[in-house]
């Protein structure tokens, strides 16, 4: 006779309410698992999908993702000339927030060499790659754009010629791919008033230095801020080339920082993502603990409510195993039912969730195992109380 089920039958409302409450907490834990893995997936998507052997960035910088990096645009030519380098591709990278498709959206612009350079969009769900040197873009469909849409960015308008899916930066923001020149222009372009103010200041400085207004006006373009910087150079090694030797050469002779793809991944995981992962981990741990405490409390309360029945069972000769099984079965059923409901809730929540959720079966299995162990732990206090209950309690009035 399964006493646990019979007891639950008489406390069905309390039992179901507890399941719903714990399931909601566990659903958050499961979603957080997805956010955690989604963060990692997003964080390294660009690195993994760029398919570059080496990342060359500004000297002393950890860029281009964790730290701003600016290098001269033509530096990729000297890198390309390094022995062992098959191809060196300039790349511009810029995070912006603009009104796109009727919403204020954050995104990252990737500028790449559209004539065979690395760093462009990999696979398309619609359309094609950028062919024209200007005013074409490939956007991730997360932005809500359609092929043929025209998107104003800076002072220009760009036509969507291709759509990608899942192309995101380390923060989960969608990517927009532009030609390198367009991306540079967008990144370094200043608004008219700022340009005018800078020009006026430069004119004044030149005139104070003794130049006539005509001379100063002719010199002014030479003082204008350059827009020919890039953020990184992507290096593809020649077959059989020693990556370490190439990296050492670029580092020592060209004075750049060089990272392999794995090092870039490590920088990302240990830098930008580590704190978020730690916060998520902390919250997951706390929520699991709260769930276990709730289960422990409800199992304890259910046990206290039937403590006289437990004393009666002892008195009529029921073995301790029966009493332990009664309590533990209830705890396990609470845990299992809560987890199943939490899993269903997660499946409901996931499609409309605003961030990338990546569910990994082993993580779900580990959460399940932790909860099962927690369920056992949760019942220990009640078991301890039940086993200490004297049989003569049944004889009391």
């Amino acid at each position: 006779m399964e006493l646990a089920l019979k007891d639950i039958r008489s406390h069905l409302g309390k039992f179901l309410a507890t399941i719903v409450g714990v399931a909601m907490l566990l659903a958050i834990v499961l979603v957080m698992n997805g956010i955690y893995q989604g963060n990692i997936q997003d964080g390294v998507w660009l690195i993994d999908n760029t398919a570059s052997d080496l990342w060359v960035v500004e000297r002393g910088r950890g860029g281009p993702f964790n730290e701003a990096s600016r290098i001269a645009a033509d530096s990729y030519k000297s890198i390309a000339a390094t022995p062992g380098v098959l191809r060196a591709s300039p790349m511009a990278l810029y995070t912006a927030q603009r009104d796109i498709a009727g919403h204020d959206q954050q995104f990252t612009v990737i500028g790449y060499d559209i004539y065979g350079g690395a760093g462009g969009p990999g696979q398309f769900v619609a359309g094609r790659a950028i062919r024209a040197p200007h005013y074409e873009m490939v956007a991730d469909r997360k932005l809500g754009l359609q092929l043929g849409d025209r998107v104003p960015l800076g002072g220009d308008e760009y036509r969507v010629v291709g759509l990608t899916s899942g192309a995101v930066d380390s923060g989960g923001n969608p990517l927009i791919f532009l030609s390198l020149a367009d991306a540079q222009k967008l990144q370094f372009e200043q608004d008219n008033r700022a340009l005018q103010a800078a020009a006026a200041a430069n004119l004044q400085r030149l005139e104070r230095a003794g130049y006539t207004p005509e001379q100063a006006a002719r010199l002014l373009p030479l003082l204008a801020a350059g827009t020919s910087n890039i953020n990184a150079v992507l290096v593809t090694l020649a077959p059989g080339a020693d990556g370490r030797a190439v990296a050492a050469h670029i580092r020592d002779w060209l004075y750049f920082n060089v990272y392999t793809t794995n090092q870039e991944r490590d920088l990302m995981l240990e830098g930008k993502l580590s704190r978020m992962s730690a916060v998520l981990g902390l919250f997951r741990t706390l929520l699991i603990l709260v769930s276990i405490v709730i289960i422990a409390l409800i199992v304890y309360v259910l046990t206290i409510e039937k403590i006289k029945s437990i004393a009666t069972l002892k008195l009529i000769g029921a073995p301790n195993g029966l009493i332990v099984r009664l309590i533990m079965t209830q705890s396990m059923l609470l845990t299992l039912a809560s987890f199943v409901l939490a899993y269903a809730l997660r499946e409901l929540i996931a499609p409309g969730f605003p961030r990338t959720l990546a569910f990994v079966a082993p993580h779900t299995a580990i959460t399940f195992a932790v909860m099962l162990a927690g369920g056992v732990l949760a019942s220990l206090m009640a078991v301890w109380h039940a086993l200490r209950t004297p049989a003569q309690l049944a004889l009391g009035g």
Binding site: M1, K6, R9, T312, L313, K314, I316, A318, P319, L395
Partner: protein, 236 residues
């Protein structure tokens, strides 16, 4: 069948020691009905707890159904298992498991003794019919009257065909009519099944038909009346 030899119970130690049960001896034959009378705090329940070894005595020897359960200390017998197989309990407050139906309460005792689910259900149903409460077999205790609950409790006590039935104030929660019925039922069981029935009560009206009546006063056990008509003699 049941032998108590100088069984005593002392609580506390040294100057604080209280002898709740002074050395008591008695011998009860199969089918005998024994009533333990006495006021509150006289040691009735202490003796019941000692006999069933729920609270083992301080000294003495207890033999039930030929097995020495206690001889100035445990004898190594699995007491809980012995209770399960050989002793039936009837409580003042019935003590039915509230989340089990009447049938399940009785069947539980059979299943604890190894009966299959089907067999235990069949025998539990027979027992409830014998106790004239078969029609309430599927009711939860909360839906039964006090008398009905007590009959289910008797059914549970009888389920393992015990050699000894210990009843602690079995009629205290019942009115006189229902209490008399329950006592009559215990008499019937003792006669028909040959079980020893030891009933604790402080209600003299309920001991009609009992074979031996013991009186407990301040922990001292004395035989108040024995033999046929003992209750009437004691009452008079």
């Amino acid at each position: 069948m049941v032998v108590l030899d100088h069984v005593s119970q002392t609580f506390g130690e040294g100057d604080l020691a209280v002898q709740a049960l002074k050395p008591a001896s008695l011998s009860i034959e199969a089918g005998e009905l024994v009533a333990l009378l006495g006021p509150s705090g006289s040691g009735k329940s202490t003796l019941l707890l000692a006999i069933s070894l729920i609270q083992p005595p301080t000294t003495g020897r207890i033999v039930i159904d030929g097995q020495t359960l206690y001889d100035d200390g445990p004898t190594g017998i699995d007491i809980r298992g012995f209770r399960r197989r050989k002793i039936g309990f009837i409580f003042q407050q019935h003590n039915l498991i509230p989340f089990l139906t009447a049938l399940e309460n009785v069947a539980l005792m059979l299943q604890l003794n190894g009966a299959s689910r089907r067999e235990s259900a069949r025998r539990a149903r027979d027992l409830l019919a014998y106790l004239e409460i078969g029609h309430r077999a599927d009711s939860l205790p909360a839906r039964l009257s006090g008398g009905e609950q007590q009959r289910v409790a008797i059914g549970r006590a009888l389920a393992n065909e015990p050699v000894l039935i210990l009843a602690d104030e079995p009629t205290a929660a019942l009115d006189t009519e229902r209490g008399t019925k329950v006592m009559a039922m215990l008499r019937k069981i003792a006669r028909e099944r040959g079980s020893v029935v030891i009933a604790v009560t402080h209600d003299h009206r309920m001991i009609e038909g009992f074979d031996t009546i013991y009186q407990l006063d301040d922990g001292r056990l004395t035989c108040a009346a024995a033999g046929e008509g003992s209750a009437r003699r004691l009452m008079s």
